[in-house]
Symmetry: C2
Subunit: 309 residues, 2 copies
């Protein structure tokens, strides 16, 4: 095998109560990437379609993560990476993570899978660090593991793969405004009330239990964020009404995807998820903000191979 084409999906980090630890993987939106072996050693970005991203190997997240794996594996070949970007940078659904994860996943396949998923996550975090300024895994892990993940700790890296209820669908709306991750971090308080923290860890515990027991009602009850959302939602115009409308038409819950501006909702069926998309669109249609919406089953597989030669 000398060349591989993969689909590297978008992901939703935080998932309301699970700030900095939970995430899930989408299916209908993601980047395509083609990675091929070269006789010339090293890592090279050979093509970028759909976004204005750097070609320098030490500046592109896909090559930085690939280099972390490459320097560890020390293979007797090199690799070049074509990136077909469908996930808009800055959308809050793991654009940089998809690039960082996709390249290490693909190279691992081309090398005969010397690394496990946790190791791939670790390499991809090196790429993510270029984009966000710190090594975190809450978008990386769901892409590489699929489904719902809980990043138990980053040092040492411990990723838990949580079960995914069968009929769970996500709706995403991406209002095209810019929120920098650094700004979204800066707006958060350094200290929070103990009572709110207790509410939050109760919700995280019950969300994990709900996923294990296929309990949609409990999942719905657990999708609350009393810690981060009250701050970050201020950065997203019409957030409160979008969330309220989503729940009104049947969503189990809704919240900020990653650090925004995308808003996610979870629903028990595709029909409901589509109704939620329509309700969300109706709100932004009345504004001058451009937007994209996506409806997706939760992707339990994660990154997948499209074609190899």
């Amino acid at each position: 095998m000398n060349q591989i084409k993969i689909f590297s999906p978008a992901t939703v980090a935080n998932v309301s109560c699970g700030f900095d630890v939970l995430g899930f993987c989408l299916d209908t939106i993601g980047d395509d990437m083609v990675i091929r072996k070269t006789t010339e050693k090293g890592i090279r970005i050979s093509k970028i379609v759909g976004a204005d991203l750097p070609f320098e190997a030490d500046k592109n997240v896909a090559s930085v993560s690939a280099l972390a794996l490459y320097n560890d594996a020390q293979p007797d070949c090199g690799f070049e990476i074509d990136i077909y970007k469908n996930i808009k940078p800055g959308s809050g659904i793991g654009s940089s993570s998809a690039s960082a994860s996709g390249s290490v996943f693909a190279i691992n396949e081309l090398l005969g899978r010397p690394y496990n998923k946790t190791q791939l996550t670790q390499f991809a975090m090196k790429g993510e660090a270029i984009a966000s300024g710190c090594e975190h895994a809450d978008n990386i892990a769901p892409g590489i593991f699929g489904g719902f993940t809980l990043v138990k700790s980053t040092t040492p890296l411990q990723v838990l793969q949580l079960p995914t209820p069968d009929n769970l669908y996500a709706t995403i709306i991406h209002p095209q405004i810019e929120i920098k991750t650094s700004e979204a971090r800066a707006i958060l308080p350094k200290n929070i009330p103990l009572q709110n923290a207790i509410t939050q860890w109760s919700n995280v515990g019950s969300l994990v239990h709900a996923l294990h027991t296929n309990d949609y009602k409990l999942l719905s009850d657990s999708l609350n964020d009393v810690v981060v959302e009250p701050y970050r939602s201020q950065l997203i115009p019409h957030f409160d009404v979008v969330k309220a409308e989503a729940i009104k038409v049947g969503a189990l819950g809704a919240g900020i995807s990653g650090s925004g501006p995308s808003i996610f909702a979870l629903s028990k069926s595709k029909i409901t998820a589509e109704a939620v998309a329509e309700a969300m669109q109706n709100i932004y249609s009345k504004t001058d903000i451009s937007f994209n919406t996506y409806v997706s089953k939760i992707n339990t597989e994660g990154i997948r191979v499209m074609k190899n030669e």
Copy 2:
């Protein structure tokens, strides 16, 4: 059926990371209670053995909780309650909760089980409020439901029954010093660092996942409390060395039981749990503090009927 004898077990609340929400049920330590129907209406405490507790129906936690149920059910008989107290009040292993839960459980049996476990928990919380000043369920729920419980919320009351790994044993050491619940509450900060809160909810999520997957290693990794233990452990002499020794001889983890002074440890086998007990005893034996130790399988049944007539 006119009379019932029950065993109302001791319980461990908080369970390291799960402050205010998690708890589990013990098996080898608990109160015996005999409850019988009377022609005279109302609730009466008829006997108290083993502790100096009030007989007045509006002051004893067992009768206060019983009255909450009684006033709702409005049966055409009364009940009298004999309490054989084995759990020392103030020990931190749910002494008042055992009394509050036991009476409502028993009366529900005598009435033909008109109430479910959540309703019984709700009634018992009225009794617990007399002892602790607020209605909480983190010791009540494990007694009534058995095994591990997560109190998702108290208004409305939502209790989740979590799975219990087969070979899980608890060791308890009760150093006989007095810590008032109110003092143990007062020592806690009103605000905590967001980073610590994130660590805590990551641990709660992974602890719930560990219980669902029978993963003892993950359970061990999750039994950390970075929020409450650093404060409350100061109130318990030799806590740090007791915890360290417990883990050294094989415990999965150890922490403060409820608001203390009891210390609990969890182990994968009875043999390890007994070695942990010995290690804990060795430390307090060298001091002038009296203590009791208990080794118990996790009780997945909760309160149980010993005899009915």
